[in-house]
């Protein structure tokens, strides 16, 4: 059974350390049609196992309404609802620096629609940026099969322009020009820390 979020995206159980390791080659990444989120989770397991960074995806926030406590077995949540996160999905620590990012995929060939972000995520990015955190989006153009690290500061410019009649998307050409291309690899699948190094250089 495929479980879907209210936005229509399929729910996938968080990768465990076992499942995250069973097929982490680039070939399989393509063949299995692994989602960007799955590939990032595997990459984060790789980074942590190798002592390179500690980054985790936050659990999906759930509002729990009813729980049963059967005798001699685990508590069962019987009624709950998806709620809106107040932060972005990923954060962690890399060489003493705070990292904060969100991962987004688009099938659009010519632009990244800004509706992929919510106001509270932008607000969170701004607050973290103000504290000296490294904030960015990892954007995958599915049709081009290209993944970019795009700085939160650049995103803010387009986000703010929307309100004053600006365009509702970021052109692909802008992201290709000012983002940092992340070339998928064998291990880790998405070596985004290389792009972070370029960002910090």
């Amino acid at each position: 059974m495929t479980i879907r979020y209210p936005n229509g995206h399929a729910y996938r159980a968080p990768a465990t350390s076992e499942s995250a390791h069973f097929s982490n080659t680039y070939t399989n990444y393509g063949k299995r049609g692994m989602s960007l989120e799955e590939a990032l989770n595997e990459s984060n397991v790789y980074y942590e196992t190798h002592g390179l960074a500690v980054v985790h995806k936050k659990p999906t926030p759930i509002r729990i309404v009813k729980v049963d406590y059967p005798k001699r077995s685990a508590a069962v949540i019987k009624e709950a609802y998806f709620s809106t996160a107040s932060t972005t999905d990923y954060n962690g620590v890399y060489q003493g620096r705070y990292l904060d990012f969100d991962a987004k995929e688009t099938r659009n060939k010519t632009a990244f629609p800004l509706k992929n972000f919510h106001q509270h995520q932008i607000d969170h990015f701004r607050a973290c940026t103000a504290q000296g955190g490294i904030c960015f989006a990892i954007i995958k153009f599915v049709v081009h099969q290209e993944i970019y690290l795009y700085r939160a500061e650049d995103l803010f410019t387009f986000w703010d322009d929307q309100a004053t009649g600006g365009r509702k998307s970021i052109p692909y050409t802008e992201i290709a020009a000012h983002g940092i291309l992340i070339t998928p690899h064998i291990q880790p699948l998405i070596p985004y820390l290389k792009a972070v190094d370029q960002l910090l250089a």
Copy 2:
């Protein structure tokens, strides 16, 4: 209805920005019997609102088994289970530094039992510490009505000693001597960043 986690602790819905503000005075903190978690959540709202830090409690991880999609209304989770977190509960950014901590309360007067921590939380603290993150526990001795910031590095010593026949708890006197006392305040309720400043000084 009080919802309980498998460990018997009551479930509380995450504080919203409205609810987090309605009574944040020290008097009420005591009177209402607010939990350490609630007081920390209010403190984090205060810190973020005032541009001092961005720290959030991670949502409780849930393994979702069954979801209904009623027409014209929100998706309802009909079967789900509490799962074990792979990290500590709180993290965020403060003046460019990565913060990572867990909050624990004990009714024990003479010692903090180490069973309040799990191996994976200690492993996570070690990994974050190795990356240069600031890691600590916020420990409340309920009977003494005292709250301490206790460094993860000090915790590691007692944790490791357990395995070689050492004691299963940290003496209250040790935490009082080497921890940093956090005196509850009006705003924020638990001014733990002052203790972090002492840690970094």
